[in-house]
Amino acid sequence: MDLILQQTVNAIALGGTYALLALGLAVVFSIMGLINFAHGELMTIAGYVLMYCGLAGVPFVIGAPLAVIAAMLAAVAMERIAFRPVRNSSGATMLVTSFAVAMILQVLFQNLISARSQAVVIPDFLGQSIVIGGLVIGVNKLFAIVATLVMLVLLETFMSRQKHGIAMRAAAEDFAIARLMGIRANTVISAAFALSGLLAGVAAVLWVSQRASVDPLMGFTPVLKAFIAAILGGLGSLRGAVAGGFVLGFVEVFLAAFLPAEWQEFREPIGLSLVVLMLVVRPNGLIPAATLQAQKV
């Protein structure tokens, strides 16, 4: 029983990070139909900022927000430089553009910083554990769960109560009509990227806090997972992205914990098979986006 609870905490922590990343992908996809594979490089940028802050002796409580801000600025710059010129192109063109952006950034990291993994100074308290009701919980896990919850509540409030958040949902549903209301296309797309950068930045801080290192390809795996989570949840659906992230986190953690030792090497394919199975039952995802559903009916 304790083991299950213990793994549940781990699953929420990992799933929460996936959820933040999947949300970032979904926010951008829902507005402009772009699957941004360079989302992972936003994480890497945030990771490097965290590393340099550590080297410069900047405390983590200042370095972490700086890393998040850097990811937001990078996301807005990415849209302005790379995606705005191809905004009205097909989904495939935009997808390939995002691969190009990802690769260019990876090469820049390798040549300007280092091809090898760099250590990141993480404050000691994140490495400690606390005991809650007989459960030993890593402070970094707790930090991840709290940060995820705060971000989800903030985002939900923004999207449902704030004028600009509601405008983003309107633009996601019907971009042309949203523009007719006076909602500026450039503003809403920039805001979507800033939001995705914010989410990638927070996810990066959580990710790096677990590993205490950063390398040029760091963003690839988590964003691939987030992409799977976004598809599982229903591409373009924000609630779906969160659901997909948590489901994927649970599947991964519980397979790692409870699969017999001789099966462990097949953990990833088994996990992905479960995801495929869920998509067979619900082809549009767990919580499909309203607009996508309408197209498919």
Partner: protein, 238 residues
């Protein structure tokens, strides 16, 4: 008096297809002007061109003397006109109240938004009752009312209504036409695209008849109602 809206040699194309082939239209303050014609005559394209949703290929759009031909759609509401689009296109995943607030997106004065909201709720009491409900759950007639209400939220001087009666039950169609008259009485000038010719001519002051991207007849509503004037274009006489 300068007309409120003036189209001069207005042309619009989709690739090689000429949807509108050079039309001239004038709308004076306080009028309801109907734009009539069969499917594919270019009526909706004209509306989209005015609102900035489709680029105007040639010609001018003058609103109250100002050239708005090349304005992007997001600049149109603050210029003083709005389009209630064909097929209603309310934001189904937003509540009724949020749909209306999006209509007032360009207005920053909170009191002005509340006044506009009050006015729309007075025109459509059903929207006030349903304000917390998702727009996607409304009936077709209610969605049409929401679409018109949303377009009214920025207090436009000119309202472009594209097929407001399409797909609605006859009783609701009557209500929509009655409402359009009420709006005119409140001082809103209206350009109305309709396939329901009788309904549109009953409330319009003047009308233009389009076929194959051209204006083939224009006149007062009474003239246009007179025998035979309309039949040709619908029966393919041109």
């Amino acid at each position: 008096m300068t007309p409120l809206l003036k189209l001069q040699n207005f042309k619009l194309r989709y690739g090689a297809v000429q949807a509108v082939r050079g039309i001239d239209i004038e709308i004076r303050k306080g009028e309801i002007v109907a734009l009539l014609g069969a499917n594919g005559a270019g009526k909706s394209s004209t509306m989209k061109g005015i609102a900035g949703l489709e680029p105007v290929a040639e010609g001018r759009v003058l609103f109250d003397g100002r050239d708005i031909t090349d304005l992007p759609p997001e600049e149109i509401p603050s210029a003083g006109l709005t389009l209630s689009p064909e097929g209603r296109r309310v934001f189904g995943t937003l509540t009724v109240a949020d749909n209306l607030r999006m209509g007032a997106y360009t207005i920053t004065d909170k009191a002005a938004i509340e006044t506009a909201l009050r006015r729309v709720f007075d025109l459509f009491p059903i929207l006030e009752e349903r304000q917390g409900q998702y727009a996607g759950t409304l009936s077709g007639g209610q969605q049409q009312m929401l679409a018109i209400g949303r377009a009214l939220m920025c207090n436009p001087r000119l309202l472009l209504l594209d097929e407001p009666s399409l797909g609605l039950a006859p009783l609701i169609v009557e209500q929509v036409f009655a409402l359009i008259s009420t709006l005119r009485d409140q001082g809103v000038t209206i350009l109305l695209v309709e396939q329901n010719v009788a309904g549109a001519l009953a409330i319009a002051d003047r009308a233009y008849l389009m076929a194959s991207g051209r204006i083939i007849r224009e006149g007062s509503a009474a003239e246009m109602r007179s025998a035979g004037a309309m039949a040709d274009s619908y029966l393919g006489g041109h």
